[in-house]
Symmetry: C2
């Protein structure tokens, strides 16, 4: 039985894998960018994950290597695989979370619902797409490296991406008039089993997730469709571990794939309290090819509110005092405007009420205040 998991990247996702690893008796170690990262408690090596020698030195201590983020270069991933380490998710799957253009091309082959899109190699391509969609604005994305609204622009003419085109192709997408944004999380183990949590609704501000309400209050057909779509993607792309499929829901109820993430995801934090199995425990079980846990909910609803900018010094006391149901997750990070520094969750029976409670607690803890 595989038992040792190395996580590349020392952010909060690696940090939140530590508790389930301790409970399950799994040996977890983290390759950290610096000794003061969020997951420092489990740091076994400090170094640059882009350096093959560092990555190999780290990976050799573990049965399986997985990730806190999707930034590890393909060359490094393939070197690790060649050296005999299980890389989960593997480079072939992870590519689709690293490269938005590769994702769009493959989802098209799968027949997954997507926004209209095109790849622009030059300004002429941009003009053609603007003409085709007959809209005033287009969403432009750098295929790689974007996250939390970075690497994404709304443009209305070719000048808007001139600088990006100098460095390579740009992904263009129609601006979808959606009713809400949702995320479907599933986990898949290498032997094939898949477990899905209920669809959640994400609240966004400037392209960054600020709140989550679970389950999403949408028609049953949307739940079924989203789960089916995420399951199809997980299987077809050979994903192992947690997969998050961010989607738009249109007025008509139609769902459209926005982005993919192949790791525990901000939209799934609420399941730590709301589900029998958290996404962090499930990710560890999945990458170790262990049987997956139940995704049953333990309350009717749960909400999550992110803490941005940093955690106000000594605010834990006031946050806990605000309501005895509040669960606080502090990522142990230094302050920086816009940074995700923690989150709070509350579970119970009335979603609106829970959101009010969580926001009250978050408002006293978040340095940036509420979005």
């Amino acid at each position: 039985m595989l038992k040792r998991v190395g996580v590349i990247g020392g952010g909060q996702l690696a940090r939140m894998m530590i508790p389930p690893a301790i409970e399950l008796g799994i040996d977890l170690g983290v390759l950290c960018e610096n000794p003061d990262t969020s997951a420092r408690e489990a740091c076994v090596l400090v170094g640059d994950y882009r350096d093959v020698e560092i990555a190999r030195l780290f990976a050799n201590q573990f049965d399986v290597v997985t990730f806190d983020h999707e930034l590890v270069p393909q060359e490094v991933l393939r070197e690790l695989e060649a050296s005999g380490v299980f890389v989960r998710p593997g480079p072939d799957a992870l590519l689709f979370a690293q490269d938005k253009l590769a994702m769009r091309e493959t989802l098209q082959l799968l027949g997954a619902p997507q926004p209209l899109w095109a790849v622009a190699h030059n300004e002429n391509d941009v003009e053609l797409f603007l003409a085709k969609i007959e809209g005033s604005e287009v969403v432009a994305k750098t295929p790689r490296g974007g996250y939390d609204g970075k690497g994404v622009r709304l443009i209305s003419d070719k000048a808007g991406v001139q600088d990006w085109l100098a460095h390579g192709p740009v992904l263009l997408e129609e601006k979808v008039a959606f009713e809400r944004e949702v995320a479907q999380l599933v986990a898949r183990r290498p032997s094939g089993d898949i477990a899905a949590w209920p669809l959640v609704e994400t609240g966004q501000s400037n392209g960054v997730c600020t709140t989550v309400v679970a389950p999403a209050e949408v028609d049953e057909a949307v739940h079924v469709g989203a789960e089916g779509l995420a399951t199809l993607i997980a299987k077809s792309l050979g994903v192992t571990g947690v997969l998050a499929v961010e989607m738009f829901v249109l007025d008509s109820g139609q769902i459209i794939v926005n982005e993919l993430a192949m790791r525990p995801h901000n939209s799934g934090h609420v399941f730590t309290e709301l589900s029998v199995t958290s996404q962090f425990e499930q990710h560890l079980r999945a990458v170790l090819d262990l049987p997956l846990g139940s995704t049953k909910l333990v309350a009717n609803h749960g909400v999550m509110v992110n803490l941005f900018g940093g955690v106000v010094r000594d605010s834990l006391e006031a946050a806990l005092a605000s309501d005895s149901l509040v669960k606080v997750h502090d990522y142990g990070k230094s302050a920086r405007p816009g940074r995700k520094a923690g989150h709070v969750t509350v579970i119970g029976s009335d979603a609106a009420d829970l959101l009010r409670i969580a926001k009250m607690a978050a408002s006293v803890m978040a340095l940036d205040g509420l979005a």
Copy 2:
């Protein structure tokens, strides 16, 4: 705000404080007996807690010192207090969990229901008590150092405790004909607030807890009485942190205090999954004088089954495969007959069904097999 907690003792109770400390952003460090203890992940010093200098060196790094066990000598506790560290629970309270004679005397003053008891200084005292209770057998206990059935004997004559009497007084108690054994857990913070979980029923084998069913299936009056009694004890003794009151329930429904523990307790492990706030998180919040969390249950029932002797190598896979609801807690200990090496819990709606599921998982994981 206090934020740094030092735990004396590196057993599983210290280990299970690590996950909530990570989530809440609390700095937790452990004084371990050896570098390979259960709580080694948070070990900051290896040494003997009976050595005042070691204890002081450790405690100086923290705002508050608390415990994995109740074996720290009073002299050490008082030295730490004198050096300016908050010791929680404090030595005055902890004495009643360290010394069963002191506990009986104080509970008598409080008017708490107890078995008939006496202190024996010599064999004559033993004969007098045997005559008084008119029973064939008496429970004899060493006032200090006993746990999990150790330091407890059933005797029918004075010869049964001759060896113990040579070393000091012996506590004698009538053997109570009880219908079931239960435990009431509460947590109290220094500023006075108290939170109580529902009463649980413990299954015992040879004086050791093997299973827990929560909530206990007893009349509402028993629940109310047990909570009131534990609350009275916590307040009157000035307990801070988690207090476990082990009790007998008689056929008549009357409750009688058996033992006290002032730390997270085996009977409360089930609340990690069953309650909004686990006993480990609550203990940290209580000793830091932070607002206590809700003790609301997230399912109708929960059960816990201990794993004795060690965890069978690579048995995690079979345990998780046995039912997707099973939650495994592996204490990371080497094997030794009778040793508590882990536990499993399951929450849901039918207690008998949950117990069957938990026992099946435990049977594949426990080296000693099921009791």
